[in-house]
Symmetry: C2
Subunit: 248 residues, 2 copies
Amino acid sequence: MGTTQLETVPEPKYWHLKTVLSDALDSEFAVGEILPNERELAARFGVARATLRQALEQLELEGRLQRRRGVGTTVAPPRVGVPVDPARHTWPGAPGDDWQPVDAVETDTVPAAVTRLLETAPGDRVHIVRRSRVTNGQPVAAELLYVPTAAVPGCVEPASAGAQTRARAVLQELHKLALDGQDRTVELGSARAEDAKQLDRLPGAPVLVVTTRYVSAGRTTAVAVSTYRADTCRLTFGESDAVAVLAG
Amino acid sequence: MGTTQLETVPEPKYWHLKTVLSDALDSEFAVGEILPNERELAARFGVARATLRQALEQLELEGRLQRRRGVGTTVAPPRVGVPVDPARHTWPGAPGDDWQPVDAVETDTVPAAVTRLLETAPGDRVHIVRRSRVTNGQPVAAELLYVPTAAVPGCVEPASAGAQTRARAVLQELHKLALDGQDRTVELGSARAEDAKQLDRLPGAPVLVVTTRYVSAGRTTAVAVSTYRADTCRLTFGESDAVAVLAG
DNA sequence: CAGTGGTCTAGACCACTGT
DNA sequence: CAGTGGTCTAGACCACTGA
């Protein structure tokens, strides 16, 4: 019948908008530059602010934009390559890693997913070490490291000691054990309120959740749940460090 | 002065809603079960539909829900663990990997990011092999594998051959080379229209983008850009395969 | 065809930032 | 304080699915 239907699929406005904005970012804006505010952009493109925001959200998700309440929308720098898989397999807190211990608490309530990985009973006491990872002065990740108290019996730092001191004590006890190996999973999540604050983001911000299992003496001895800012980070794995140079 | 200001931070409605729904999913719903439709849920919680949708979007991002237009919202099964780092370092298409070659084309226009990794000149001809990864009958990833024509001079499959045949031919030529190593990056992205169709998602859906660099004879010989559904996949890395069993 | 989720509008108010 | 992005509303219409 030869129906001349060129556009069977009407492209959503926000999708088209995203493309237009993305091209504009490439050609007309420099990193760090401030975009016009949302109300003006929406007016300029002849759409409702909600629609404009849908496009901006996608661009932020892809790491092209950075939005801060009360400030404005800026063009984001290229994502930072963050090495996740050190060539040498070492315990967390070994010299050379760029994590900062923050504090440590001992508790008997841990997420079910962690209990499963640690193969502990639901009521067992566990140390939780909080750590923070900073690259180029920017916080890129927050971490909760779970270590069953039974695995580090030598760790008897009193609660009166400084928070950071207790954290270091747990790590030092860990280092006395032989590390057999480790494995990891990566998945998408949304930042818990606590992590969000540490990462300087709003709650619910998209994050890459890296779960690392440390195996010692044929047993899972520690589990680290690391929460990376998905907008600013590109996780790098593998033997070669040459890959870290591809920023540009 | 003792101002009794318990809630300095008014929790956004959608955030609270998400928590409530999340708990309900744990206790009152089985995997695969259909939730009430959005209009009814919004009415039941006394919020606008847009607000309710904001909560559902987050839950879908976290892999708790699955929404399909024209059908409804269902409770999603736990994420599938997808092994990304085979113990043996092998070329793509080696026996044992669960990727299906789809087709192959030869072109001289590739994304700038890929050109940079391959260290090719902007006009150099490159094979693009499209592959698809299926797990449990579900498409979980789409891939574009870039191989400079110069790297596989023996590959002279005519365009008249079947699409899949040409794809296999490129892979077979690759296998003749010695593989020195590989490295990867993982970052968050949004599905291009083409990938979205292959993954049975809408354009813009969140995806985990895995970029693999294959090194041969001290040179980057191939680059694979694999796009995994972020809602249903948990990427697994590392030596132990025991981690794949943690689904529950 | 009826019912679902997806897109879009035009407003309002709030929380936060910097000056 | 003015200006920004974040939240929320109450509607409307569209695209898709399955009976």
